[in-house]
Symmetry: C2
Subunit: 167 residues, 2 copies
């Protein structure tokens, strides 16, 4: 039990890696919780293990924070800190891009939607940069609304449409 200073490099031994992953993941989630409580913040962590398992913690909920992230970050300045602690800034105002791309792109998008979802996916392969920005932005906007609607319904308050599929 000497615990030498821990080197930050990939742990090769599978059992050891798993133990470290479990312990540090727990510690990480606690840190997030404390940060939220202490500073009245909202936060989420999403972790994929090497094996591909998904672990998440969020306050108030992972999904809430992710939805807010999707709604916010494409129309504001995001300060991202990369792995070397350098800071990169990215400014991206989706509304401008949408206006530029709107007319022609939306025509193609609507056209593709008419023929059903598979074509929708394939269509993405042929889309240009401005279009993809507009498309992604529009979808993120919508998905926020859809997720909000889902939570509303899950909470039990939703108004089921006539002839709908409630439940």
């Amino acid at each position: 039990m000497v615990r030498r200073r821990v080197e930050i490099k990939a742990i090769e031994d599978k059992a050891k890696r798993h133990t470290t992953f479990t312990k540090r993941r727990q510690g990480l989630f606690k840190k997030v919780k404390d940060l939220c409580y202490l500073c009245d913040a909202e936060a989420a962590v999403i972790v994929f293990s090497k094996a591909g398992n998904l672990y998440g913690f969020g306050h108030p909920e992972v999904d809430d924070v992710v939805d807010r992230y999707l709604a916010d970050h494409s129309s504001s300045t995001l300060a991202k800190e990369d792995a070397d602690n350098a800071v990169q800034e990215r400014v991206f105002d989706s509304r401008v891009v949408i206006e530029e791309a709107d007319a022609e792109a939306m025509k193609r998008i609507d056209k593709a939607m008419e023929t059903g979802r598979p074509a929708w996916d394939e269509m993405v392969r042929d889309v240009g940069l401005s279009e993809v920005y507009g498309l992604e932005s529009a979808m993120k906007e919508s998905i926020s609304k859809v997720a909000a609607r889902r939570r509303e319904l899950e909470a039990g308050g939703g108004n089921i449409p006539v002839g709908g599929y409630g439940g």
Copy 2:
């Protein structure tokens, strides 16, 4: 400089809260980075300060992890740890729900898309639970592809369509 044991409750003093937020956020990001390096994991943290500012860290990128989360978590079991360290399980296989809701719901979705994006948003208000599951799931699937396509284009490799809006 006595540093008494820290109580986990809201810090009222604004200056102190800000200092704590900054320091703990930095520490948190480092923890995530170390976890990823040590255990060959992928992870992202998203933090909204009380003031509403967005901070993020991810390996390899916040967006990559969020995209993977959106693609994965609605079709698998997610073990979520809540604020009290209890564990909740939520199983949600979207594919089953899609099949159930598909025919009628997709007709309405396509119909709404034909008339443009505003109607798309409004339509969500009238959608039922099964439909909203199918809709959300389909959108998450598609947004993954769109985001992937965007990154591809941003990396410079994309094939700009004829008559497109490249740049």
